[in-house]
Amino acid sequence: MSEQSNNSSATPVLQLRQINKNFPGVKALQQAQLSLYAGEVHALLGENGAGKSTLVKVMTGVLQKDGGELLLDSTALNFDTPKDAQQAGISTVYQEVNLLPNLSVAHNLFLGSEPKRFGLIDKKAMANQARQLLSTFGLDINVTAPLSEFSVAVQQLVAIARGVAPKRGAACTKVLVLDEPTASLDADEVQTLFQVLRQLKQQGVAIVFITHFLDQVYQISDRITVMRNGCFVGEYQTAHLNKAELIAAMLGKELCQQRHQAPCVAVEHSEAILIARQLNSGQSVQQLDLDLPAGQAVGLAGLLGSGRTEICRLLFGLDQADGGTLSFAGKPIKLSNPAQAIALGIALCPEDRKTEGVIAPLSIRENISLALQAKQGWWRVISKKKQQQLADFYIEKLQIATPDADKPIGQLSGGNQQKVILARWLAVEPKLLLLDEPTRGIDIGAHAEILQLIRQLCQQGMSLLVTSSELEELTAFSSKVVVMRDRKKVAELSGEDLNPDRIMAAIAGASV
């Protein structure tokens, strides 16, 4: 599947070989690899949880690898701290701008290597040097103003400028890592950034470019490395890989066990339980028309950042719509907080299980009964006995692997945590269950069980909206799949059209 690069004449500036990295309970990287040549833009691609960020962190000294080797100019190195990596000439610009918003632009550029006069920081010289450096990036701004006063795009460029600025006692920048640098930039700003990247490329800097905007990959990158589930998938020449092939590599072609099962539909041609018309939310969802039929599972597909998570947030009252109408079970509704959504019978299993789902130190029993308790109000307590019954019932039903219900949920594996969160919402008996990436980062066994559960729930008459990056999975249970691209709905597939290839084509857009 992978097509080796024929760039073998030169030696790579930086080479990562067979990198392993484990976190408690998770193998974040398994035999990951990456080779970078001077003067190339190398796109590092993969869906959320593919291990891109972890690999970058290993490369830049934020995390220490558990196995494998890192060669810089053919010498094996170990970076213990970010500073070590910087000294060796590897600079990083993170997704959230990791600068100091309270300091001036100039100070952000030169923190730690400020020009000095008589032992004191020479602010005038610093400002001059900053202006000079930024002018090469086409930026003409007031460098003495605090960074926070500028747009994210400017901050991003400043971060890159700092990345390549000469530093005290450090080698000149050989490798520049950009983690989602364009996530918050508009089209013009992206072009400015690319201009800068091309310039740096000419100076012989190797650039790692992580993004989920595939158009940009084709615009700027020379080569592509794709990762999935912490593993290396392949290394490709950008020119030799079309978009559909790329998406196939990113999403994988693993077959689900349920593949050939028919979509589960409890009621044929049922009434829509939720209808959205022209729904808008800032810039994250635009003019969405969505019908969710009762008693069916609807899939929501699209790449990261396409607006799928935002739809879930919107329907659960976490974000407020600023335009359009929403009706649920025949009545128009307005949601301003999750409690309202829950009262109506809408529930959400959030994407980020760790920070938005589990309450780690509390027990499984408490985690399961909390949502029901919150719905009932604080004065009508669910007795410990009832909680225990509830917990036992769901531990049995969802086969949650735990010795007892009093174990803190934080000690469970990802799949079991997800089951507990599902149990939490099932206990509330919602009419509409929103599942945002319910199978991410969980083991194969639990994965299959959760898909099975989705089918069961459907058959019992519950309506579901399921977001997933795994297309096979979506086709396994959905009666229809809504495809999002760039915050807009681009397709609604059902019946004959409902297969992974069609979904992928829709995600990739017409320009395949």
Binding site: L100, L111, G112, S151
Partner: protein, 323 residues
Amino acid sequence: MSRTYLPLWITFALVLLMFGAGASQFDGFASLRVVTNLISDNAFLLVTALGMTLVILSGGIDLSVGSVIALSGVAAALLIGPYQWHPLVAFAVILPCAALFGAGMGALIQYYQLQPFIVTLAGMFLARGVATLLSEESVAIEHPFYDAVAEFGLELPDGGWLGATSLLTIALVLLMLVLTHYSRFGSYVYALGGNSQSAQLMGVPVARTTILLYASSSMLAAMAGIIFSFYTYSGYALSAVGVELDAIAAVVIGGTLLTGGSGFIIGTVLGVLLMGLIQTYINFDGSLSSWWSKIVIGGLLFFFIALQKLLSKQWQSKAGGKA
């Protein structure tokens, strides 16, 4: 007017307003004498608040300063009195010891990831405890050096008098001004307050900076204790109770963000002056009771905290509108 400077200007305006109000109502308020008294009366608070500014700029807090003032006062009095040391020698021992004490707290905060609040609370009990242990009674200081210092000073017109302690305080203010705004250490302190994780990623020596800044806070507090001993000619273990609160209040009123990362030494100076002016005004008035100063300071604290919150929210929505 930018977000960073607005609280500073408001404090400055309030200082002028307070001074104007005093001057218009009372004879002799608008004199150099009142101004120099303001400085000398609040010298020890100002010196303490300078250290507190550093700590708060970094996003921390130091509750131990009041106790360190008392401890250094008692230690100085004992070394000079019963042990017959020359005051300068005593100071030369006390200041490094205080720095070591602060460094210890900084190390606990840094390496054991404990909250500054609770660590410095323990430090507060510890320093006060050691001070009580050294002497429960007030220890008088009698030394020719103290008399000489008391007599030394700058005679100014209009009844103004800048004593040695005031001059020392002014020198310390200038030193801290340079250190905070024009040294690499100062920028690191701001960096910590801005975002310690980013700071770490940008190569700021976080551990060294944290330890150094708590050390400086304790050392400045010890300096304040020595200055305090020049007013009282004694050291007393139960003196300066609650000074940490006054110092924190002065820093906040001076426009420094309590979450760290933004603020100015000059703001703290203005904050101390404003608090001193309120006290002076109440003294001049005679009919107003002293508790009003606490209530007014509490009100000012609330005003400035709410203002900071408002400004940072406004800024967030400005930056957020883009994303």
